[in-house]
């Protein structure tokens, strides 16, 4: 069994099926990456560097944008990924308008 699973070829994160230790090297979905920190089971590890503002991709679709620079092998979660949907707290900045893929008709 692989330690982490990649669902779609476009994904830049993998999901840990078992706890991954810092320094552990995993191979999954054609990528080899060394964990920069511990990754709990079920959490995500970056397969490559993701710049601030770039999309985090899982299931072949964006699940949010990087709110901090993410290095390859980093734990990817709420501390470094921002959702663009339903953000009433950011309404003035029209956060959802940049994140939505499909626009409803007028």
């Amino acid at each position: 069994m692989t330690a982490a699973i990649v669902i779609s070829a476009e994904d830049n994160v993998a999901t840990a099926l078992e706890p991954i230790e810092r320094g552990q090297t995993i191979q999954t979905g054609g990528a080899t990456v060394t964990a920069a920190e511990a990754i709990p089971r079920g959490h995500k590890i970056a397969l490559r560097a993701i710049a601030v503002g770039d999309r985090v991709i899982k299931y072949g679709s964006p699940i949010g944008t990087a709110s901090q620079a993410i290095v390859a092998g980093a734990h990817v979660h709420t501390h470094n990924v921002a959702s663009g949907r339903g953000r009433g707290d950011l309404a003035a900045e029209s956060a959802t308008q940049t994140a939505r893929i499909a626009e409803p008709p007028e």
Binding site: M1, R41, G42, V56, Y59, S61, I63, G64, G86
Partner: protein
């Protein structure tokens, strides 16, 4: 696909619908009648099923309509053979309307009024007498062989973790694909948990109107959350979802919509508890709270529910069997009481997705033929009508 894998033993109703259970449904018109209704239903367990709810008075406009229409939808539900309405006497919800709805769909129906009978004791005693007569009258109905195409399958997830999107939801999605191939129907709810994946469902719409309708409904739910000036991350994903590794609502939604299949076409988008009339995939406009969501989709006509859970959750329904599926091997052990089907093997390559989905479809048909689910064994009969406005 063999014949044996595409039929079940169900109750053919005179209105053309097909039930997988044969309940005497005891409906309180209002919260004030809920205790009497529950006592009457308990007297004819397990045939009796009550719908205790918190509404029925103090409501105006759309909020009252949703309550009325949800209760009426249960009064004519395929899994219901007969109806007893328990009224208080001064409430807004009209007992006669609910009884008429049942009768017009070919089901015997009676009314007991607490004020009319003269109090709790007399109303309960009178209700028990009537309920026993109704149970005897529907007890003679027998199950017959029915094509799986008659099923409306509600797909639902709750207590999601990373295994939901990777294992249990894709297994359920394959069952949805197969059922629709056979001519059946699937209903998906929880609009907030489509947010972030709506583009994938809209692209599978059978008509531009259906796709546009879905995008409008998702937009409305998002706008409602935005109008509060709050971040929906307080609830979507939930704290448990986040501990389980889900980071954003987009990630949760992309995993959640796998339940609706990969090939199914989006045929229709319907209001809460409104009738599901199309074969193929229907999306219902329900909130994300599990019990309100399942209550609405069963009201729409779903006879059976497949409910995936990574963290484990006990939710059932008063009249529809709820089959619990988990992709988390630990939850399958720690919450074995609540879990019907363990598909965690697909994550360790111990079982293929094809084998797991064939096993789950067989379970759906067995439960539709009468096999008890964990939720039914444990007496989980949660029911909650979605409220759109504050109580006046």
């Amino acid at each position: 696909m063999t014949m044996a894998a595409s039929v079940f033993l169900g109750y053919q109703r005179s209105d053309g619908s097909v039930g997988v259970r044969n309940h005497v449904l005891v409906i309180p018109t209002v919260i004030c009648a809920a205790v009497v209704a529950e006592r009457i239903a308990a007297s004819i367990a397990p045939v009796g099923a009550a719908l205790p709810h918190l509404a029925g008075c103090g409501q105006i406009g759309p909020d009252l309509n949703v309550t009325h229409e949800t209760l009426a939808a249960y009064a004519r539900h395929p899994n219901v053979g007969a109806v007893l309405v328990v009224a208080l006497g001064c409430e807004q919800v009209v007992a006669q309307h609910l009884a008429d709805t049942a009768r017009q769909s070919g089901r015997p129906a009676q009314i007991v009024s607490i004020q009319g009978e003269g109090g709790t004791v007399r109303a309960t005693a009178r209700g028990i007498d009537i309920a026993r007569e109704l149970a005897a009258s529907i007890g003679r109905v027998e199950r017959t062989s029915i094509a799986a195409a008659s099923l409306v399958l509600c797909v639902k997830c709750g207590g999601s973790d990373y295994t939901s999107g990777l294992a249990s939801n894709p297994v359920v999605g394959r069952v949805a694909d197969t059922l629709v191939d056979l001519g059946g129907a699937v209903v998906l709810g929880e609009i907030a948990e489509i947010m972030g994946a709506e583009h994938l469902l809209a692209a599978r719409a059978s008509s531009p109107a259906a796709g546009a309708h879905l995008l409008r409904v998702v937009n409305r739910v998002e706008a409602e959350a935005m109008a509060l000036g709050l971040d929906i991350r307080g609830t979507q994903p939930s704290p448990g979802n986040i501990r389980g590794g889900l980071t954003t609502i987009e990630e949760k939604s992309l995993g959640a919509t796998h339940k609706a299949g990969e090939r199914t076409r989006l045929e229709d988008v319907v209001a809460y508890a409104a009738p599901i009339t199309k074969r193929g995939l229907t999306v219902m406009d329900t909130p994300g709270l599990d019990v309100e969501s399942v209550t609405g989709m069963v009201g729409g006509g779903a006879q059976v529910v497949v409910f995936t859970t990574g963290l484990g959750t006990p939710t059932g329904n008063p009249i529809a069997p709820v089959i619990k599926v988990t992709g988390n091997a630990r939850t399958a052990q720690t919450m074995a009481d609540n879990i019907d089907v363990d598909v965690s093997g697909v994550l360790t390559d111990a079982e293929s997705f094809e084998a797991a989905s064939a096993r789950l479809l067989a379970e759906v048909l067995a439960v539709s033929s009468g096999r008890e689910t964990a939720a039914e064994r444990l007496g989980h009969r949660e029911f909650a009508i979605h409220r759109r406005n504050p109580t006046i």
